[in-house]
Amino acid sequence: MTIDNKLISYLEDLSYLSLADDEKVRLTGDLEEILNYMARLKELDTENVSERSHPFDNVNAFRDDEVMASFDRQLILRNAPVEEAGMFSSPQTVGE
């Protein structure tokens, strides 16, 4: 497949990334090469093969419904780039 500008900007939107022009040129070429290489999986016959998303078949890892103390709020907010009134903060979202 060929990677066009439209696909690159779609992937930028999905990933919330904005590539500089030189990055865009490089990644367009790279992605095309890599995806064409990946496409060789099409050769494999996988009919009736189930999808494996874990290395093992273990199931059911639970915890009991018990409450433990939460973290100190100052610790939670310690790495916040901007903190206001005990909350994380960003420029306004409404109306964007």
Binding site: H54, R63, D65, V67, S70, G86, M87, S90, Q92
Partner: protein, 475 residues
């Protein structure tokens, strides 16, 4: 040809577990911002989820109660999108193998019964809360609600009117309350519904639908359905096309608004959540969950009639809301007088609630105090007048019945001397009525009883009063 409204509902119910779905933080509503938060639910780098077993059990319980098929091999998936209320930038949810499929619920509108199909029930985590500070042009993030467990109950597009939607929601709410899986407080957001709506000419193919969000009360849902139906019909009648989009309901303005197009063109890139193991619900576990399902409304209705001899009509009123049936069961257990308790709740308490404009979910009366009152009236310590008066005081001001009765002097007067004195005085003061009675006017007897009661401050033993009056008159 007539227009027809077609509605499907997505109901989100917060499960009333103690701790969150993937960490041990409390699910308690409110609290200082970010005070119910840990590294896991705030999505700090390197943290991992660990599933709360009770979330699965509550979801299965709901699925079973709604007649659904439980998915034996279920699993979680990640739904990826960026939004500030979602700290990991993905929501752990279920797409490929939801916990329950093919459920349904019967509703009744204007005497017509109809089954609404429920396509699936799935488990997911709730998002945080955003506070918009318009003055400083900022949005602040509070993650207390992040990770509170949710089930999403997705109906088929089976509704044809707002009434049907409301009937379904009422019944669903009661069912969830009876199941004990959700406290269903819409004002706290623990029960929320998104409305998918389209219109068509009867008999035609389904039209283009819109999804409405931010519906915070049943009333808002009713209004929003009405508004959206009219909006779509107007567009189509003018030859336009309905755009498939998400719309936000503004209850103050009574209008909905299309959300920006970016939120409408979403590609969530769902894939199996690698940090959680798949679920396997074996027969034994399923049976244990089945056994844990509490008695639901119809079961209670039958039992009340069978075991207590309560009338069908009263049983219906008692079981319509879980809060009422809980109160009934508590009062009848404490007082040992189920019939009297049933009369009380379906009669006087309903009357007081109506007067005070209180809906069943907000009813808060002390069951112990009601039991005391019932025992007082049945054992003849107070009469019905005093019973009603004290009841009102308990209902309004949560007074202690014994203290109130003592203070107001409401104890029933059964002393024959006192009653006899009162009768004598009344006969002396009401010669006209006495004459009427003597001349055969039976009505005058009732008047005289009333006068004696009045003299006794309403607390006279009614039987004793009648007897004493009869005796005096027959002399």
């Amino acid at each position: 040809m007539k227009w027809e409204t077609v509605v499907g509902l997505e109901v989100h119910a917060e499960l009333s577990t103690k701790s969150k779905i993937f960490c041990a933080c409390t699910t308690e509503f409110g609290g200082e911002p970010n005070s119910h938060v840990c590294p896991v639910c705030s999505g700090m780098p390197g943290t991992l989820p660990k599933l709360n077993r009770r979330v699965v059990e509550y979801a299965v319980r709901t699925g079973l109660a709604l007649g659904g098929k439980i998915t034996v091999n279920s699993k979680f998936d990640r739904k990826n999108y960026f939004y500030p209320d979602l700290p990991k930038a993905y929501q752990v949810s279920q797409l490929y193998a939801p916990i329950c499929r093919d459920a349904g619920m019967e509703i009744e509108v204007n005497g017509n019964k109809k089954v609404i199909g429920i396509r699936e029930i799935h488990m997911e985590e709730d998002a945080g809360k955003l506070i918009h500070d318009a003055r400083n042009n900022r949005t602040q993030m509070d993650f207390n609600r992040c990770g509170v467990p949710l089930i999403e109950i997705v109906s088929e597009p089976d509704f044809r009117s707002g009434e049907e939607v409301l009937a379904y929601l009422e019944k669903l709410r009661e069912t969830l309350l009876y199941l004990g899986v959700c406290d269903c407080k819409m004002q706290e957001g623990s029960l929320r519904a998104d409305v998918n709506l389209s219109v068509r000419r009867e008999g035609e193919e389904l039209g283009t639908r819109t999804e409405m969000k931010n519906l915070n009360s049943f009333k808002a849902i009713g209004r929003a359905i009405e508004y959206e139906t009219e909006r779509q019909i107007k567009i189509l009648e003018w030859g336009g096309k309905v755009t498939q989009e998400t719309r936000r309901w503004d209850d103050d303005k009574g209008e909905s608004f299309g959300m920006r197009s970016k939120e409408n063109a979403q590609d969530y890139r769902y894939f199996p959540e690698p940090d959680l193991l798949p679920l396997y619900i074996d027969d034994e576990w399923l049976q244990r969950i089945k056994d844990s399902i509490p008695e639901l409304a119809h079961g209670k209705r039958e039992r009340y009639q069978r075991d207590f001899g309560i009338s069908e009509k009263e049983a219906l009123v008692l079981t319509e809301h879980k809060n009422i049936s809980d109160l009934f069961e508590a009062v009848s257990a404490k007082s040992g007088e189920p019939l009297e308790a049933a009369h009380l709740l379906t009669g006087e308490i309903m009357y007081l609630m109506n007067n005070a404009n209180i809906t069943p979910e907000f009813l808060a009366v002390d069951a112990g105090k009601l039991s005391v009152l019932i025992n007082l009236v049945i054992s003849g310590k107070i009469n019905r007048n005093a019973y009603k008066e004290t009841l009102a005081a308990v209902f309004d001001a949560d007074v202690d019945p014994d203290e109130y009765i003592a203070k107001q002097g409401l104890k029933m007067v059964s002393d024959t001397n006192i009653v006899g004195d009162a009768v004598k005085a009344v006969l002396a003061e009401n010669t006209e009525a006495l004459a009427d009675y003597r001349s055969g006017k039976e009505k005058a007897f009732g008047f005289l009883v009333g006068q004696v009661m009045k003299k006794l401050g309403g607390t006279g033993n009614p039987e004793l009063v009648r007897k004493a009056l009869k005796d005096s008159l027959s002399v």
